[in-house]
Amino acid sequence: MTGYDTAGRIQNTYVSAHREFGTHPNFWIRYFTPSPAADLFHEDALAESRGAWDSGGPYIGVISAPRQSRLSGSAAEGHADAQAFAAALLTAYHGVRPLLLPANNQLYCWLDQEYSTSLSLSYWNAWASYLANYNFAGLGTYPLYPCLYCAPHSPYPNCSTVSKARGVNRPAAIWSSTPEPCGTVSKPPRWNAAHCATIGTRLWQFGEQGVCNLSANVDLDLGGPGFITARFCFRLKYRP
């Protein structure tokens, strides 16, 4: 199952992406506070949701890319970033009536750790713990699952950090940004995502716009064998 992540507006992007790749995505992954480009969904969740529906990919995954030096920091920083992330998700959920939690009640919440960023255990544990224990919308179902986007073979601490996490702080999944053989959403490469030693890679960013010279403002993603990415995203029940 393939889809897109983008820091652009979905409604301004999906037509050019369809023109370039000839098919629709199964899902979109969007940036939420605290993060660059978080304003797009936060300030106009309705238009973004309509864009996702109209694109044929009515599933919206969620990622946050805090200021990257914070990821080397303290538990207080990780806790604060997770608190803002959860609040932004709740705001979007309340803002778009047909935006629903996944049927399996597992919304994967990705922390964006870029190639040249170090992740400290204090930050990760506080970030992950807050999300895992967040009583989303007062439902009592605790549907948020902390996950990590990273380049597993980067020389900076990433896999080695989260491998020390225990219990609910352990990432539910890794989304690997490497390697980048490119391809298209209709013809992705064979599964060959980089992986951490102890936590499974479920999602693979196999083509970045800049590296693969894509015209459309999208990066290309592929779910791992047996992993249906859309099942771990917000879903739109109908066109908002």
């Binding site: 030096s69 920091g73 803002a84 705001t91 309340h94 009583n135 989303f136 970045e208």
Partner: protein, 470 residues
């Protein structure tokens, strides 16, 4: 001089490290959450100081130790090596900081905050480091009483241009309930039972006088439940603080409709009582670049392409679009903004390969617009990937993703003035007050120094994965 409770430590030591614990002791002591090293800036090899300040200065390196025995970041001080062959190692300064350090606008003082849980609450210590030696020049503490040991206290020091007062914005998050919950195991789908904590945050202020060493506060704000993330800036008389109410599960529709609004509070420096409090436009505060302008107003660079100028006097917000920053890509980009003494601001968006010098007094009209090829890691740490020379004539950027190295552009014409590459990718770029450039790379020697004409000056090794330079 040291304090240790949760393992937070700041050492007072000379440039040779003789007055403090050994480097081995620092690392063996545990550390890890974020460390600070002192790195000497420009030695005699790079010529006279551009800024007219003493030639030998230190830079502070913030990051995470190699062998992550400890759970978060540290600081070392380092100096530009006198020759390529004889580099001087950075000096360990502090470990397990409560937050990343903050430097004064003129880069003469760097502030470190640590939090120690003591018997009656949380002891917040602010330590000021000078640039001419990696030593503690001033230190003060305040204890927030009644804070439980499992609370989170996020400390943000805020320098005020033209004032000796440093504000400390404290986000205090305490557990307000614990209960057993059931949720599906992520891999098996089977229900598991776990202990969950609910939290509530509010803010408090404290003030430190750099001259007298006196600390006042804490002044608790009645803004809970609030998001701990906030944005703060100060001018010579006021502290401006942006906060956001934390959305609650059972908020009414009317309250939700206001959810995207944040509040701006303006406090006279030294006071815990706001003289102004008003709703302000989105986005929520937290991590966006801010700069105090010559007028005393404060600019926020938001949405990666707009500047919101907030009047310190009235709280009124004026928004300016920066056309050069409008271009977006699939990958989000870090953005930076720095106010300059001549009234301009320097803004960068490395993911789009854009740097802009804009006139704050003229609706942020672009005076210069430099385009360059995006570097390999436009979003990753360190966030500084393009810098402007002190005289404002040259913009230095990380080299293109394909070739690495560094490039220099004429700020006026936007034309390429020079480049250097030996095939290595650098991930961060800083200009030290001396005028020397400091580039950061993944493997040791992680610190590479260059002259303003991009000639290599030397390298230095550090045990830190570098997150930022101060």
């Amino acid at each position: 001089m040291r304090s240790r409770r949760r393992g937070n430590s700041v050492w007072s030591r000379g440039p040779d490290g003789s007055s403090g614990p050994s480097r081995r002791r620092v690392l063996a002591g545990g550390i890890g959450a974020g460390a600070l090293l002192a790195l000497p800036d420009l030695g005699s090899s790079a010529g006279a100081s551009v800024s007219g300040r003493p030639a030998e200065r230190y830079a502070f390196v913030y990051g995470t130790p190699d062998l992550d025995e400890a759970p978060s970041g540290s600081v070392v001080a380092a100096m530009c090596p006198p020759s390529r062959a004889a580099s001087r190692p950075p000096v360990p300064v502090a470990v397990r900081l409560a937050a990343a350090p903050v430097s004064s606008a003129d880069q003469t003082v760097t502030a470190l905050a640590t939090v120690d849980m003591v018997h009656d609450g949380a002891k917040i210590t602010l330590t000021l480091l000078g640039a001419t030696a990696p030593t503690v020049v001033k230190q003060g503490s305040v204890t927030v009483t009644g804070v439980p040991h499992d609370a989170h206290v996020l400390v943000t020091p805020v320098f005020a241009p033209g004032s000796a007062i440093i504000s400390l914005v404290l986000a205090i998050t305490v557990p307000v309930g614990k209960h057993m919950v059931r949720k599906a195991h992520p891999h098996t789908g089977h229900p598991v039972t776990q202990l969950a904590t609910t939290w509530r945050s509010h803010h408090a202020l404290a003030y430190f006088n750099q001259h007298s060493g006196a600390m006042t506060g804490p002044f608790h704000l009645s803004d809970g439940p609030s998001l701990a993330l906030s944005t703060a800036a100060a001018n010579g008389s006021d502290l401006l603080l942006w906060t956001t109410r934390e959305p609650q599960p059972h908020d009414s529709a009317a309250v939700r409709a206001q959810a995207s609004l944040s509040r701006l509070h303006v406090f006279p420096l030294g006071s815990g009582k706001a003289r102004l409090s008003a709703a302000v436009p989105a986005p929520w505060p937290g991590g966006e670049p801010v700069a105090t302008l010559a007028t005393g107003d404060v600019a926020r660079l938001v949405r990666g392409r707009q500047v919101q100028v907030c009047s310190a006097r009235t709280g009124e917000v004026t928004e300016h679009e920066i056309p050069a920053l409008r271009e977006g890509r699939a990958k989000p980009s870090a953005v930076t903004m720095h106010a300059r003494p001549d009234g301009t601001v320097f803004m960068t968006k490395p993911g789009s390969g854009v740097a802009v010098i804009a006139d704050a007094a003229d609706s942020f009209r672009a005076r210069s617009h430099i385009r360059y090829a995006a570097p390999a890691s436009p979003l990753g740490a360190p966030w500084s990937k393009a810098v402007l020379s002190p005289a404002g004539e040259t913009v230095y950027v990380l080299g293109p993703a394909g070739t690495g190295g560094l490039c220099a552009y004429h700020a006026g014409s936007g034309k390429l003035a020079g480049s250097y590459s030996e095939g290595r990718q650098y991930h961060g770029l800083y200009q030290l007050p001396s005028g020397a450039l400091l580039a950061v790379r993944p493997e040791n020697p992680r610190l590479a120094f260059f002259s303003p004409d991009l000639s290599p000056l030397g390298t230095a090794e550090t045990n830190l994965h570098v997150s930022a330079i101060y």
